[in-house]
Amino acid sequence: MTDTGIGARVRRKEDKRFITGRGRYTDDINVADQAYAYFVRSPHAHATIDSIDISDASKAPGVLSVLTGDDLASDGINGLICGWMIHSKDGTPMKAGGHPALAQGKVRYVGNEVAVVIANSIAEAKAAAEMVNVEYSELEAVVDTATAQADGAAQIHEEAPNNTIYDWALGDKDAVDTAFSSAAHVTELDLVNNRLIPNPMEPRAAIGEYEAGTESYTLHTTSQNPHVARLVLSAFIGVAPEHKLRVIAPDVGGGFGSKIFIYAEETVCVWAAKKVGRPVKWTGERSESFLSDAHGRDHVTNAQLALDADGKILAMRVKTIANLGAYMSTFSSSVPTYLYATLLSGQYNIPSIYAEVDAVYTNTAPVDAYRGAGRPEAAYVVERLMETASRELGIDRAEIRRRNFITEFPHVTPVIMTYDAGDFNASLDMACEMIDYDNFASRKSASESAGKLRGIGLSNYIEACGIAPSAAVGSLGAGVGLWESAEVRVNPTGNVEVLTGSHSHGQGHETTFAQLVSEKLGLPLDQIEIVHGDTDKVQFGMGTYGSRSGAVGMSAIANACDKVIAKATKVAAHAMEAAEGDIEFKDGTFSVAGTDKSMAFAPEVSLTAYVAHNLPEGLEPGLKEGAFYDPTNFTFPAGCHICEVEIDPETGVTEIVDWVAVDDFGSIINPMIVEGQVHGGIAQGVGQALTEGCVYDDAGQLVTGSYMDYCMPRADNLPEFRLGFTETICPSNPLGLKGCGEAGAIASPAALMNAITDALGVVDVPMPASSQTVWNSLQGAKQAAE
């Protein structure tokens, strides 16, 4: 390890510009002659559009154009797409309704884009938007996940009878039925995984430009994957041909998944730029983020676990209804299926599992991947079941887990995953040691003396990151491959530009990726520039989601570095008149074994490669190599989180008094950044379990449409995080990395809800366990006792 290489706690290079206000986000960019877009949005959850009168708005001061869904249709612009095909049990493909970027004939959720006003200023656009006169006929709204499929429920898309997009299943139903029929014990839970609104710090924004001379387009947008955005906008939506569309995602201020997707607004900005002959800029307001960013989670689940008398698991049966909202967002179909049901085996050796998932339309904002995407929902089901089974069987919560842990690898689960490495006992042991698990009873009685209810909760999560390999995900319905690309450009002076197809929206890639290159090439960090987010600069790449940038993106960089070293070795050997096999490369220096001859990588070898005066015969000049890396498997981060809570029975307030997180992320590049990712992930998990809940009323109006009502976790909701790490090296990528971005959000809700239900002595309380919810639970218990 060098002081800037793999394993070093290097401060984040990018933070200087972020902390000093010098980040350059989409809204910071202004292009000459730009006009402003403001969207007219539906005030109704479900209505037909009888007419749209734009005559007054079109004449309003400063207005360039008012465009509607009819204009999109007449220009032949296609609807937004969902890029992952799921088939129902009977083999039929999912039943997706259309998703025009501006509504055509019908609106399906509050906030649905109906028209756009393009004006010289945003104030003029807003004023004119109020003059767009839309006549609606309201229809009954379908809001509730559990009853969306009911007979007589209003029909949201003609294509999807009973609002059912697919009814999908995974696993062996007969084997599960047989196991349950003879089980000594069955634990059953009805669980709701609450709907969340992502709330990245930077709202979505877009600037569309059209250059008439070259007939080319540029889109600046808040994207986690600009190449995927370009592909979808060109190949599917048909706004511009791929080679004539440049997509730039500059600094992006958080995403948590919500900026993976290709939305209506950026589509409209590109299209409208050509129509009005001016660049068109849109910056979402926070209220628009609440209404129209893709939401997360929203599952209603019945889960059953069959066990023998000793607490050994025999089988699991899960039925989930997943709410996908009013339209199918870009990757929505995959989240409650292949990112969810495939993780239901948890860390446990379960002989058979059967999972059924119905995806439903409702008159709510689209739902798609949000930090963890399916895996938090799976971990929640598995770990709530384990805790409940432990209570029902009277087996210690750690002991019942130990009895069921998978201990041999590779392990093939009944839900198609092949776990490649892990040591679940190690993380459980370390977490128990750190929190002093054995003495919980004395802490509980001390809390009792102070009038508080204390509870403890475990969550032994596993997740799957770096979704891969491409052939496997293709067979499961993915419309794209999930590899990553890299190019390492060594300049003649020896400094390096690394072009990655991955993207950073706050994760610190400019630092960790540079650390890898520093380790590989022996260069200081300030000689390494990470370039990403611009389709004109960077080769095609897949972007950032699913904790893939390390395991997949850095593996591509590592391979490209190896190719650079291989070529540089040839250059150095020739220059030093030595055999290639005698060249050693260490800490940035090529030397000839057994001699004092050496050449520095920078600038001697780099310059030699470019001046090309003395290269081996047949070797091309230059020093630039690329790699496309397609992993052989998912990676499987896993660990154990244990938390302890104290509840004030007078108010129902839950305080998290201790939190221990032990994670196995394989090898780690920058421990400080990894710890930050864990902290942030836990904060979002605590948010889900304790504070955050998206609420629509029965008419489909968003009740939690601002921070006055949508409760983000604050510093005072969070504990001191105590972290530990175990390490089993991931065998499916060259760096041994597993991914750390989502683990905290995956592990934590179950740990916290297990602790709260333990403190309260109840089977379940719904998330978020607000003080009111907890107080209600206590009142219920009091009444039951009377």
Binding site: A123, T704, Y707, C711, M712, Q772, N776
Partner: protein, 264 residues
């Protein structure tokens, strides 16, 4: 935000004159209610009359009273040694309003004139039997806060200061709304020569007093005296954060904690 005419008069009289001469004028103090409303295009006044220079700020503690100029910010009240020495509960209340940004701009005059049902100051005014001094008259707090966002102020009347008699003991405890951090329930208790007063904010449409707790605490100013106290839930607010029943229960809990805080 819609367009409006902006004025910054130097005196109360001038401010009142500007309001009279406008089609639909609004006074602006710290702006923490009006500005967000304007930004959301929910209000479109013809004229916004910024009274920052018209009303005084500053704190005077003498003769058994603390008089706070209407333009005094929450941060100034929270940090004032005079307030902290004479009515520590009032300083602590001001220090718990919103966040540092809000406390740096928001004013006591603006807060009482707006009478948000979840604001903190109305509870202090009522429990401490304060007097609201305006451009026209003096109004007792009991008479001043008349309903949800409603006060006894006339259209062209401006709050100029608030006069708090120094109590023997006082305490304020609030249960914050988890999202907005406004008071879901806040209870201010005070014990003075005339007995105990208990004022509740956040729970109902407007700050209110609780006679039963006042009577119990007038005899015995201890949390034990109101051990079983809560209020009827019938007229209380109910929303996604707290049902009326939960608020009613919290009134009792916060009242006991406020008394404990007052007894320090």
């Amino acid at each position: 935000m819609y367009e409006f005419n902006y004025h910054r008069p130097g005196s109360v009289d001038e401010a009142v004159e500007l309001l009279k001469n406008s089609d639909d004028g609004k006074f602006l103090a710290g702006g923490h209610t009006l500005i967000p409303t304007l930004k959301q295009r929910l209000a479109s006044p013809s004229d916004v009359i910024d009274i920052t220079d018209a009303v005084k700020s500053g704190i005077d503690a003498s003769g058994g009273n603390v008089v706070i100029g209407a333009g005094t910010t929450h941060a100034e009240v929270a940090g004032s040694m005079d307030v902290r020495n004479s009515i520590p509960a009032l300083a602590s209340l001001a220090g718990g309003i919103g966040d540092p940004h809000v406390r740096a701009r928001g004013t006591i005059g603006g807060s009482v004139a707006n009478n948000d049902p979840a604001a903190d100051y109305p509870a202090a005014c009522v429990a401490l039997d304060a007097t609201i001094v305006t451009s026209k008259r003096e109004i007792s707090a009991d008479e001043f806060f008349t309903g949800m966002f409603e006060t006894a102020l006339e259209e062209d009347e401006i709050v100029t200061s608030v006069r708090f008699p120094v109590p023997a003991k006082a305490g304020y405890v609030k249960f914050p709304n988890p999202a907005s951090r406004y008071a879901l329930v806040g209870v201010f208790v005070a014990s003075a020569g005339g007995g105990a007063r208990v004022a509740v904010t956040g729970a109902g449409p407007c700050v209110f007093r609780d006679a039963a707790m006042e009577s119990a605490l007038s005899g015995d100013f201890s949390s034990g005296a109101i051990a079983e106290a809560s209020v009827a839930s019938d007229d209380l607010n109910s929303d996604i954060h707290a049902s009326a029943e939960y608020r009613a229960h919290l009134v009792g809990v916060m009242a006991r904690r406020a008394v404990d805080a007052a007894n320090g």
